[in-house]
């Protein structure tokens, strides 16, 4: 279902804005632009991270923990990030509500902000929090899924490998918002 998102965005190109009110999301337009990577740009290695300096490369001591020493030593580098590229040309933000989708843990409903045909923010207005497991899902699923939807179109990524914990309800609500965006 997540893979359907870029296709839905492509279909939306050139279609008029259905809902033309300003973004009500919490993500400022500047932040939204910062995740955009030009389609031809190879993600560059970022500089030092904002909060800590990277520790220097450490040469591993000899001997593995359990087995024989590796044939090649690992190399340490500074952490990479995808470099922000220039923002898109200015297009009006519009915010669309997805359908509320029920699953066994509760209801998921998303509010999606588009700038032109590009998703710039996804906010869950409803996420299940009725019991322990649902709470875990709702706390983790929102940012990770948001990231996946945003990143998939910004760096032409087909798949995200991560410790994601996602929900089909999320994808369904997102899809319904996108369907609605091009009426």
């Amino acid at each position: 279902m997540n893979r359907a998102i870029p296709a839905a965005i492509i279909t939306a190109i050139g279609l008029g804005a259905l809902a033309s009110f300003k973004s009500t999301s919490g993500l400022p337009a500047k932040s939204a632009a910062a995740i955009v990577v030009p389609r031809t740009t190879v993600p560059a290695t970022g500089g030092p991270p904002p909060t800590h300096n990277s520790s220097p490369a450490t040469s591993p001591a000899t001997g593995g923990p359990n087995t024989v020493a590796p044939p090649t030593a690992p190399t340490a580098t500074t952490p990479p990030t995808v470099a922000p590229g220039p923002g898109p040309t200015v297009a009006q933000n519009r915010t669309i509500m997805g359908d509320p989708i029920d699953n066994q843990y509760g209801t998921v409903q998303l509010r999606v902000t588009l700038q032109g045909s590009r998703i710039t923010n996804i906010v869950a207005t409803q996420m299940p929090d009725s019991h322990q497991r649902s709470l875990e899902i709702s706390q983790q699923a929102e940012p990770l899924l948001q990231q996946e939807a945003l990143q998939a179109q910004s760096a032409q990524i087909d798949i995200i490998s991560g410790a994601t914990f996602t929900s089909d309800s999320y994808a369904q609500s997102l899809q319904s918002a996108l369907d609605r965006s091009h009426g």
């Binding site: 893979r3 993600p43 990277s54 520790s55 591993p60 359990n66 090649t72 500074t78 875990e136 798949i159």
Partner: protein
């Protein structure tokens, strides 16, 4: 299922195992094989879920079912888990949840092969697709994936973004994958839920480990084991696994890669 007219493509996603499993096939294959993949995923959940007391893995864990009487899939997975335990010197051990000092939490189980079974099942689905004639596809379960062939939009291979542990709007790396498996284990997923089987305490030092290699079940277990072993020992151990490459992101934001990992990076 989305089956666009004139496009030889099958895409499908379902919620299973508390995550989303996605299948994307770019060949003209009988789409019943995709149904079979998802039926298999449901069976895997029925056998291996640690969230339901009636599954075979829970019954074995409680001593109600002997392994010899269990389904062949359960026997196969338990055999693989034992191999991984031995190879990792105990850093991968599905009995960690039974340790007395491991706190009670939802999904905790005396026998928990979750660190391998997701990758194992996705790899099986990939084999089912190959057997049906698919040459360009991916199968992904919550980010553990196999990606085969060369999609039209990326002729060099599928582009796989590695989730950045702390920056939700970034990926930590972008990989080009064709004919390999990618598994990521991370402590950011559900908090400190990966237990060091040697101590019963949560694994520390590495926020995430991504492993690329031929077999997703193995890559999945390797990623978990390296995470448990930590930034130095874990990445050294990973560097010694023939055919597999890895990238670890440490809590201090150092990124450690095995020597051959960069060949996958774009």
């Amino acid at each position: 299922m989305i089956h666009e007219p004139g496009v030889d493509r099958i895409r499908r996603a379902e919620e299973q195992w508390g995550t989303v499993i996605s299948v994307d096939v770019r060949d003209l294959v009988d789409d019943r094989v995709v149904d079979e993949c998802f039926a298999f995923f449901r069976r895997v959940d029925d056998l291996f879920s640690t969230w339901r007391p009636e599954t075979e893995i829970m019954r074995i864990g409680r001593g109600e079912l002997r392994r010899a009487d269990a389904s062949p899939e359960v026997d196969e997975v338990l055999g693989l888990c034992e191999q991984m335990r031995l190879e990792s010197g105990g850093a991968f051990d599905i009995t960690a949840g039974a340790l007395p000092n491991v706190p009670e939490r939802p999904g905790r189980a005396p026998l928990d092969p979750s660190g391998l079974v997701k990758g194992w099942a996705v790899a099986k689905a990939g084999e089912m697709l190959r057997a049906a004639g698919a040459t360009c596809f991916f199968v992904s379960a919550g980010g553990d994936l196999v990606a085969v062939g060369h999609p039209d939009e990326h002729p060099t291979g599928w582009r796989v973004g590695v989730q950045h542990p702390w920056e939700p709007e970034h990926v930590a790396a972008v990989l080009t994958i064709t004919g390999s498996a990618v598994a990521t284990s991370g402590r950011y997923e559900r908090g400190d839920h990966i237990i060091d089987p040697r101590t019963g305490r949560p694994a520390a030092g590495l926020a995430s480990v991504t492993v690329v290699g031929p077999d997703l079940a193995v890559a999945d277990a390797y990623a978990t084991a390296a995470l448990v072993l930590g930034p130095d020992a874990g990445m050294r151990w990973l560097a010694g696994r023939a055919g597999y490459e890895g990238m670890g992101i440490a809590d201090d934001r150092t990124v450690v890669t095995t020597a051959g990992f960069d060949r996958y990076r774009i």
